[in-house]
């Protein structure tokens, strides 16, 4: 299937101002990086083997298109309103869209390697989609700016905890965390979970110690009363 060569899709109107930056972006879009990978166990329509794919960098409008397609697919196939809001289903379908846009036919990179996002979602196993998605991420990591994404140090994390705690009286605007890579946020949650676990463990130790001291006090109380009575006599 041939995909649109218009990088802006139908959204940009004719005659609309295009800045110097936008022009630079269009040039780069045309010459975007790609890598060829051999893949095993993948078949196209009619059980045609697909031994290799060219995986190229994904553009913003392709990501938006994947999301739009995912939403319309969910609306079309699911009637339950709650299920329509199921982030998991949407994410799976969106990932199928990203894979579809990124994977190209090695014989002609203007053609996608697979017929459609819906076809990917219906015919491929989760493992196959995950395999292709890993290739998409590999290309992104190799050519992207966030190579070796950093983590929060414990001091950084303290600063974020302090900032969030100060803002809890208001609704916390999501933009406080905007721009932070997903991996870094996951790492922060893992670090915080570790802290919670240690604090819970410390609290349990303290509660046990308090209970033990109370038992000692309870045992000593009759002795103390007896001693006091002896002193009075």
């Amino acid at each position: 299937m041939t995909t649109s060569s218009n990088p802006l899709g139908p959204k940009v109107r004719a005659g609309e101002h295009v800045s110097e930056l936008a022009e630079a972006i269009f040039e780069r879009y045309e010459a975007r990086a790609s890598e060829t990978f051999e893949i095993d166990g993948f078949f196209g329509p009619g059980a045609r083997p697909i031994p290799a794919v060219v995986v190229r960098l994904v553009a913003k409008f392709e990501e938006w298109n994947s999301r739009d397609l995912a939403k319309s697919s969910v609306k079309a196939i699911i009637s339950d309103d709650d299920a329509k809001k199921d982030v998991g289903i949407l994410d799976d379908l969106e990932q199928a869209g990203v894979v579809w846009w990124a994977c190209r036919d090695p014989k002609n990179v203007n053609e996608t390697a697979f017929p459609s996002p819906e076809w990917i979602a219906k015919t491929m196993t989760s493992e196959q989609i995950a395999t292709l998605l890993r290739l998409v991420h590999a290309v992104r990591d190799k050519h992207g700016p966030s190579k070796g994404a950093s983590k929060f140090t414990p001091d950084d994390l303290d600063a974020w905890v302090e900032a969030v705690a100060k803002l809890t009286r208001d609704d916390i605007p999501e933009r406080l965390f905007a721009g932070l890579p997903f991996g870094v946020l996951v790492d922060a949650i893992v670090q915080l979970a570790g802290r919670c676990e240690r604090l819970t463990s410390d609290k349990e130790t303290l509660v046990a110690e308090v209970a033990r001291q109370r038992e000692v006090l309870a045992a000593l109380e009759p002795v103390a009363i007896e001693h006091e009575q002896d002193s009075d006599v």
Binding site: P7, L8, G9, K11, V12, E16, H17, V18, S19, E20, L21, A22, A24, I25, F26, R28, Y29, R32, L57, V58, A59, K60, F61, E63, W64, R140, H143, G144, P145, S146, A149, S150, F152, T153, D156, A159, W160, E162, A163, V164, K166, L167, D170, D171, P173, E174, R175, L176, A178, G179, L180, P181, V184
Partner: protein, 186 residues
């Protein structure tokens, strides 16, 4: 990547104060982008109205923030968020990271920042000798007879088009003038 939440200590206070008094509104130069090294870009401060409009739209918030805040020498670098469409995701990450880092300095919002810390830093900046002329000009445009704040008179734009950072700097300047007036009774 931003590793710390926005705080006003990234810049010298006097320079930070001046950033918000810039004619045409506060903006901060972005480092050259690897995908467009010859294009000079800035991140401009967003008004509360713009921030809330972006939040009201809900989806693709970061895309909208980047599209709204990025400017080149001729004005908005993206005529609409749709113009981000051709940006490769890797390049978007680079731009979004630079823009959000710049916005932490150039676009403090009352709802999002430690207001006390920003007030203290901007007041310190307003006290600096290099900013005396601006501070007294702001004081001169204030109605001390009880009319209250009129930052639009100083900045020359409607109140709704002022960023929270401009309002913070304006109030910091007024507090400095007010302190001096109390210290030197007529």
């Amino acid at each position: 990547m931003r590793t710390r939440p926005p705080k006003p200590d990234a810049w010298p206070p006097e320079k930070l104060f001046r950033l918000f008094l810039r004619p045409g509104g506060p903006r901060l130069a972005l480092p050259p982008m690897s995908f467009a090294p010859r294009v000079r870009l800035w991140a401009r401060g967003l008004t509360s109205r713009e921030e809330y409009a972006i939040r009201d739209d809900g989806e693709e918030m970061l895309d909208r923030v980047v599209a709204a805040a990025t400017v080149d020498r001729n004005g908005p670098a993206f005529a609409s968020p749709d113009h981000l469409g051709a940006l490769l995701l890797t390049d978007f990450e680079e731009l979004a990271s630079a823009v959000t880092e710049a916005l932490d300095v150039v676009s403090p919002a009352y709802i999002r920042v430690d207001v006390t810390a920003w007030r203290e830093t901007l007041t310190e900046g307003a006290r600096h000798v290099s900013n005396h002329a601006d501070v007294w000009t702001i004081g001169g445009a204030y109605d001390w007879t009880g009319g209250g704040e009129q930052p639009d008179r100083y900045f020359g734009v409607p109140l709704c088009n002022l960023t929270d950072g401009q309002l913070m700097a304006y109030r910091a300047a007024l507090s400095v003038v007010s302190d001096r007036r109390k210290a030197t009774p007529t």
